[in-house]
Symmetry: none
Subunit: 206 residues, 4 copies
Amino acid sequence: MQRSTPAARTGRPRSAAADAAILEATREALVELGWSKLTLGDVATRAGVAKTTLYRRWAGKNELVVDAVAELFDELELPDRGSLAADIEGVVLQFAAILDRPEARSGLMAVVAESTRDEALRERIRTSIVDRQKRLVVQGRARAACRGELPTETDPEAAARGAALIFDMVAGAVVHRTLVSAEPVDEDWARRFAAVLLGGLAATGI
Amino acid sequence: MQRSTPAARTGRPRSAAADAAILEATREALVELGWSKLTLGDVATRAGVAKTTLYRRWAGKNELVVDAVAELFDELELPDRGSLAADIEGVVLQFAAILDRPEARSGLMAVVAESTRDEALRERIRTSIVDRQKRLVVQGRARAACRGELPTETDPEAAARGAALIFDMVAGAVVHRTLVSAEPVDEDWARRFAAVLLGGLAATGI
Amino acid sequence: MQRSTPAARTGRPRSAAADAAILEATREALVELGWSKLTLGDVATRAGVAKTTLYRRWAGKNELVVDAVAELFDELELPDRGSLAADIEGVVLQFAAILDRPEARSGLMAVVAESTRDEALRERIRTSIVDRQKRLVVQGRARAACRGELPTETDPEAAARGAALIFDMVAGAVVHRTLVSAEPVDEDWARRFAAVLLGGLAATGI
Amino acid sequence: MQRSTPAARTGRPRSAAADAAILEATREALVELGWSKLTLGDVATRAGVAKTTLYRRWAGKNELVVDAVAELFDELELPDRGSLAADIEGVVLQFAAILDRPEARSGLMAVVAESTRDEALRERIRTSIVDRQKRLVVQGRARAACRGELPTETDPEAAARGAALIFDMVAGAVVHRTLVSAEPVDEDWARRFAAVLLGGLAATGI
DNA sequence: ATCTAACCGAGACGGTACGTCCAGTCTTGGA
DNA sequence: TCCAAGACTGGACGTACCGTCTCGGTTAGAT
C-alpha cells in the first residue's frame, strides 16, 4: 500500500509481517489513546518493531493512521436488499458501523483535518478511503437503474456530478450525526434519512 | 466565555485586551501553521503575552482553538430570501464561506476529532459553534411554516428530530464536500443540493 | 564556570544546586561507565534533572566533562617540602594521585583527544585544567630561585620557555606512565624522575 | 594482525585487498571526521566494502583505529646520527612528525583514553604501537653504550627500569607538548629537551 | 496615599516525544 | 564460505513543546 519500489532486488527484504503488526498496533493505540496521544514510539513498541522500521515505511503519523484506518473500509460492500431505499439504508448503516469503532472515530477526522494543509495526504485519503466508499454509491445507482427505479443518466458528466452530490450527502450526514451531533445512526435514523434523500432524488430526477 | 467570574473583587483585574489579542493570534497561527503545528508558546509570543497568562485563561490548545474558531461563527445569520429553497441555499453558502477560511478549515475538524475522546470538549463545541448554526435551521423552518411552504409540526419531539436530521444533512454535506471531497461549494452546487433536500422534505412531509 | 550572563535579570533564575548535582553525577557516571558510554540522558537522570536543563548550560558532552574533571584539580597545591627535588616529587605525586581517580583517567584523555579537532575545547581545557597545573611549576621555580637552588632567570621569555619545557616534561611523563605504560607512579619512580629532571636542569642551567 | 587463521581451507578466502582498503579508509575518515564522528558504516562505504566484512575482521571501532594508526608507526627507525644527543633529537622529531599527522592526533589519544577501561585494548595498543617506539629507546641506549657515552648497565632489571623511565619521559613530553600545550615540536625544542634529558642521565648515571 | 492581592513578562524547570543516526546483527541473492 | 546490499533491533542523540514554577515588577481597588 505504501510501497512503490518496483525494483529493489538486493539486500534483506522487508518483513511483510512487520507491516501487518504495525497497522494492527496503530489501531490498538488509536482505541486506547486516540489520535493526539498516539506516538510512533509507542506504536513501534506495541508492534514489537524498532522505530526505525516504522519510519522506513511511513513518512509520519498521518500516513500511518490513514493506512491503518483504510483497512477498516476493506469490508465495505453493498448487498442487494431489493430496493434503492433499502440499499441506501444499508450503506448508511455499514458506514455508521465503521464510524462506531473508536479507532475510526479518533483517526478519521484527525487525518481529514490534517489533510486541509497537505495535498499529498488528501490524495492518499481519497485513494485509500474515500474512493472505496464512493464506489458503493455508483454501484447502488447502477443497480437502481437496472431495477428501473431511477432513469438512466446518459450524460456521463452529469452522472458524475450527481454521484458526487449524493456521496457528499450520505457520507457527510452520517459523519456529522456520529461525530458532531454525537447521536447514534440507528435503523430509524437511516430510514428517515433514506426517505428524504430518495424523495429528493425522485423529485429532481438525479 | 471561558471565565467563571464568581467573585474576584480585589487585586488587579485581568486584561480584557489580552483575550482578544490571544484569540486573534490563535487564528493567525492557524492560518500560517495549521492546528498540528500551532503551539501555545508561539501564540503567546504573537499575542505579546506570557504563556502563563494564556494558561490562566484556557485549559489547553483545544479549548483555545474552539473559542478562536467560534468567533468566526458570530457573523452567521439568515436573511429572508423569500423562499425556503433560497433560504437553504443562503445558509449553505454562508456556512461554506466560513469553511473557506483557512483558520476554520484547520481548526474545526481537528477539535471535532479531539472531541471524540473528550466529552467536555464536545459540549464546548456544541455550545460555542454547533448550536449557533443549528439555530439557523430552526429559524428557517419556522419562517417556511409562516409562508405555508411547510406544514406546522405540532409534535415538538418530532419537530426536534426533523430539525436535527436536516441540520446533519446540511452541515454534513457542506463539510464533506469542502474538506473531504475538496471541491468548492458554489452557487450551482448549493442550488442542486437545496433542490434535493427540499424535494425530500416535501416528499416525506418533514 | 560556564556562565557569562552578566545581565539576565528577568525570568526564573537558574538553580545553583543543579550545576553541582550535574557535575557530581557526571563524575559518578565517568567512574561507572567511562567516557564513551557516558550519556547525557543518564547524567541528567542521575542528577535528578531534565536533559533540557543540562543542555541549557553545557554545549555537549565534551564541555561537561571538562568542567566535571576540572573540579578535581581544584585541590592541587604545592606544599613547601624544603628543596626543589622534594617539591618536584611532591607535584608529581599530587598529579599522579588525581590521575589515579577513574573519573579523571576516563575523562581527561578523551577530552584531550577531542580537543585535537576543536580549538574552543582546547582553550577550555587549557583554562580550566592545564593552567591550574602549570601554575605549580612556575611557583616551584620561584621558590627554588629564592632558596638559591636555581639561578634567577632575567630574560622573561627564556623563563617562559623553560617553564613550558619543564611543565611538558613533568606532566607528560606522569600521564604517559599512568595511562600508556599503565604503571604506578609511586615514590620510587617520582624520586628517580625528579633526580633526572633536576640533574638536567642543573646541567643546562634552565 | 587481527586474523587468527588457524585453519580455513574451504569456501571463498577473504579478500586481502579489503584489509588494506579498510585501514586506508579508516585513516582517511580520521583525517576528515576525527575519532568521535568516525562511523564504521562510513568506513565500510569508503572502502567499498560491506559492514559485515568489516565486523568479521575487527571487533569494533577501537580495534580498527588501533590497527589503522599502528601502520603509521611502521616507518619509525633510528638512524645513527653519531651521538646520543643527536639520536635523542632524532627520535623526538620522528615521533613528533607522526603526531603531526591528523589521523594520528585524532586517533591515538582517543584509543588511549578508551584503553583506560579495556585491558585487552591496552594490550593491543602496547603491542602494536608502544613497543614499536620503545624499541628505539633500547636501541639508542645500546648504541650509546657502544660509543662509551653511557656506562653499560649490568643489572638487567635496572636497565629495564631505566629504559622505561626514559621512554615515558620522551614520549610523554612530545605528546604533551603536541596535544595538550598545542605547541610545535621543532628542532629548537628537541635540542633543548635532549639537553635536559641527557644532562639528567649523565648526572644520575642511568 | 498607601496597602495589597492578583495580575503581568520572562524564562528556567521536569517531562515526553520527536525524527535521525549509528551500533551491531541478520537475511537475502550472487560469486 | 565469502561477499555487497540493505533491513533489522536497540538505544542515544539534540530539539521542540508541554504545562508548571519561580522570579521581579505592575496595577487598580480597598483602605
